[in-house]
Symmetry: C2
Amino acid sequence: MDRNVLNPPHRLLMGPGPSNPDPRVTAALGLPMIGHLDPYFLEVMEATMDDLRRLFRTTNHHTIPMSGTGTSGLETIAVNLLEPGDEVIVGVIGYFGQRLAEICRRQGAVVREIEAPLGEVIDPDRIAKALDEKPATLVYLVHAETSTGAAQPLEDIGKIVRAHDALLAVDCVTSLGGMPLEVDGWLIDAAGSCSQKCIGAPPGSGPITVGPRAMAKVAARKTKPHSWYFDLQLLFKYWGEGGGGSRAFHHTAPVANIYAFREALRLIHAEGLEARWERHRAAHERFAAGLARLGLELFTPAAHRLPMLNVITIPDGVDDATVRKRLLNELNIEISGGFGPLAGKTWRVGLMGANAAAEPIDRLLAGLGEVLGT
Amino acid sequence: MDRNVLNPPHRLLMGPGPSNPDPRVTAALGLPMIGHLDPYFLEVMEATMDDLRRLFRTTNHHTIPMSGTGTSGLETIAVNLLEPGDEVIVGVIGYFGQRLAEICRRQGAVVREIEAPLGEVIDPDRIAKALDEKPATLVYLVHAETSTGAAQPLEDIGKIVRAHDALLAVDCVTSLGGMPLEVDGWLIDAAGSCSQKCIGAPPGSGPITVGPRAMAKVAARKTKPHSWYFDLQLLFKYWGEGGGGSRAFHHTAPVANIYAFREALRLIHAEGLEARWERHRAAHERFAAGLARLGLELFTPAAHRLPMLNVITIPDGVDDATVRKRLLNELNIEISGGFGPLAGKTWRVGLMGANAAAEPIDRLLAGLGEVLGT
């Protein structure tokens, strides 16, 4: 490229995120810059919190976009809910579960991992058993494992965790906005997602929600969190402890990102959250049917396939990198390779946000057919 | 506001940041979204690193915008350079020094603070003496203290710190791009800034540079950093360990923020860094002369006043909040109140990036004259 002039290509983003934002979301990035303590911006923050609560299906006051990417929100949950020596049970059904375990270990917590084979999910009974054997402060699970395409059922786990007086936290980076997630209904105490997948905003915001049981643990900490930037008690001096009131400086909020994030939330609720879930489900059906016509198979067992993240088994004799490069360079379509042990054996296709729709799916299917010669 | 439609006011941002971005920077936010591992984006990353090195005046390979605000970069330095039990000397000449000390304490480090009265700076001899009394791993100083308007001289400190086999880190959040800072020339081992002040990009990037002596300490750590998100060794598997090569996923980079940040860097180097420093200096002169005409005085002693952050003593009988509210609501001009012990007694005026220029300064001076009735 001419290094002096930015001129990015127009890609159809069918990988695991970012997805292509709606043009109205992109336009919001360019709205007039204002101060992070401007009275108008405080209203934007309040409206963002309200709409984010509706997206998480929660009444939790402590619901904000963190000033970082999705990973920063997941780390914020661990940083605040765990103290050195605390026991935590982490569900590991792929790379993103391993990452959660490592993030928890960095806080000095004692991590017990419950694993499932790639593509599979964890039976709630195993969590009950682990909590019976030894209490834990926290159970931290991945809802939608982006490396395997598996959806971890959560509906029944909250009751188990609460009966054992533990907290339940969830990584819903890939699921939020694209499939059912009920933070209050499923007794989830904390959840973290990202902005650039099913929400359809640019990367750079880490939406989290933290419920009253989790905030009670935060208030009862004997030690300060290892992070100042991610300290929830300090953050909510800026975001407000309910009902407006004074706002203390913590850090300078990423104003443009919050404009875009807020506009993406507006579009989600204008569509209707349940309609959006259904759109992602229908997109998956359309894509899966198209894959079958091409003779391609999904890696993840049908019983717990994610709608928005499709892991495809690469047929024998087909070279992973060649296909992805041709899609990108000849057709401007991005899909992603496999992760970890699935690298070279699978592709990962995202049907997220605006791209969970017939036109982008048909364009990708046509492209795959062309490149594979089928 | 109508909570469904974003319609922010057009403010002249003369507080301590964000400043108003150049329209070309704002436009860059809206360029086509691409993947964070797209070959084109990898080129953008390389170009951003190159231009950021020129801004920091360094050859340090490890020079990137962190995926968070300026505070995240300052925390990244502490997280990676400090292990539990390490001794660190922090220069405290105002609120932002106190904050650095707290960030270091969160890492389990033993913090020794060297303080100066508000408005004053630290004599390098005091740092030499503190290092003579007891060795330290790190000396962490604030270059431009945004709460008092004071510029900490740094030229002579690097030699002292290096002679004591310690590392020197600098918070240059407010100074970078607006006044001389020579990372290599002044023997600074690590520095962190922000995007939204003199660089003139939106908030949401935390530019840092980390030199080879500091990276050697990182490589020699006996413990892992308390943060996974801020772990430099993991981050540079994505940003690249020199000379391209493979890129491993760490987190999804904030693509739009990096577009804007990269465009802001381009504009800085097109202007010329030294010309930009001179522009900020001249802006301060113009503003100070205008203040004198209004009968207003600067709080900070002339010997070490920052050019881009002017702390004004509020005259007796003038109400802080009333003046700021009238400027904002009637004239759409943002200035900031004082911080901590200077709240109610001072205003803080930023002359940063595009706003270090005659037209915005004259508009603010006219507004101040109108509101104060002078």
